[in-house]
């Protein structure tokens, strides 16, 4: 005997009586063929990560049981044949289970339904890299600099020692500021003044 679990997805809009008969049908395939049900869970309607047969939602049902290989293949065959089953997944949990021992410790409740699927936007920035791998650190020179005018690579950081050609952008900025301030008082004069200063 092996321990298995099966999750299967039913169409979301099945009437309740049909739902219960289907559930009954699948559990019976296990119990009839000398398998043992351990737990059952109904996870209810949940949103799917992708559409299945044009359904956005699916009704999740969970089974945990002890059985042998042929029973599982029979169950999977029935799941495949049924039109209202959207998908299913069977996982082997343990090999060579001692049936009586396992049935004694049956106290486990059926699994509680999970939280909704995670949002695709990751919370941690570490993982928000898109799909290209790690490209290493960016060189410092094009990072967050105030790019004066013209070629930003040669644009100086504000510091005392600069060659005259390089200090020009600063002056321009200063003159701009001046031109902004002046118009409040005398709008006509200000624009004319600034070019003179530079020359």
């Amino acid at each position: 005997m092996r321990e298995y679990e099966t999750v299967y997805l039913l169409k979301p809009d099945l009437p309740s009586d049909q739902l219960s008969t289907l559930k009954e049908k699948f559990t019976q395939t296990i119990t009839k063929g000398e398998g043992h049900m351990l737990s059952q869970g109904d996870w209810g309607k949940r949103k799917l990560a992708y559409d299945l047969k044009k359904n956005r939602y699916g009704h999740y049902i969970y089974l945990q049981y002890l059985s042998t290989g042929p029973i599982v293949s029979n169950l999977e065959r029935l799941l495949k044949l049924d039109d209202s089953v959207l998908k299913f997944l069977t996982v082997k949990l343990a090999d060579k289970v001692d049936v009586e021992e396992r049935l004694k410790n049956l106290g486990e409740a059926p699994l509680a339904p999970e939280e909704p699927a995670p949002s695709r936007a990751q919370e941690s920035p570490q993982y928000r890299r898109g799909d290209r791998g790690d490209r290493g650190d960016r060189p410092y020179r094009d990072r967050d600099r105030d790019r004066g005018e013209g070629d930003h690579r040669s644009s100086p950081r504000p510091s005392a020692e600069r060659s005259p050609s390089e200090s020009k952008p600063k002056e321009k900025e200063a003159s701009k500021e001046a031109s902004k301030e002046v118009p409040k008082e005398a709008p006509t004069e200000a624009p004319k003044e600034t070019p003179k200063e530079e020359a």
Partner: protein, 84 residues
Amino acid sequence: MRRPQQRRKKSFSRKKVCRFCTDKEYELNYKTPRTLGYFITERGKIIPRRITGNCAYHQRALTTEIKRARTIAFIPYTATHTNY
């Protein structure tokens, strides 16, 4: 003309540790899409070990769980499931 001022490239390397090794309670299971979500990109790809810092053993386990979660629509295969 390199300026001596230019800061040297800092290479930060925080030590990465396997999430599953450090926290034994941290569940690795296809039924917990919330935790699996940390190890896939926005497009649904599995994030490599070199970035997450998982150990080889747990990365292998994680991969199978992610693939299981995909088959029962807990996690997307891709960001855009279009039908052509």
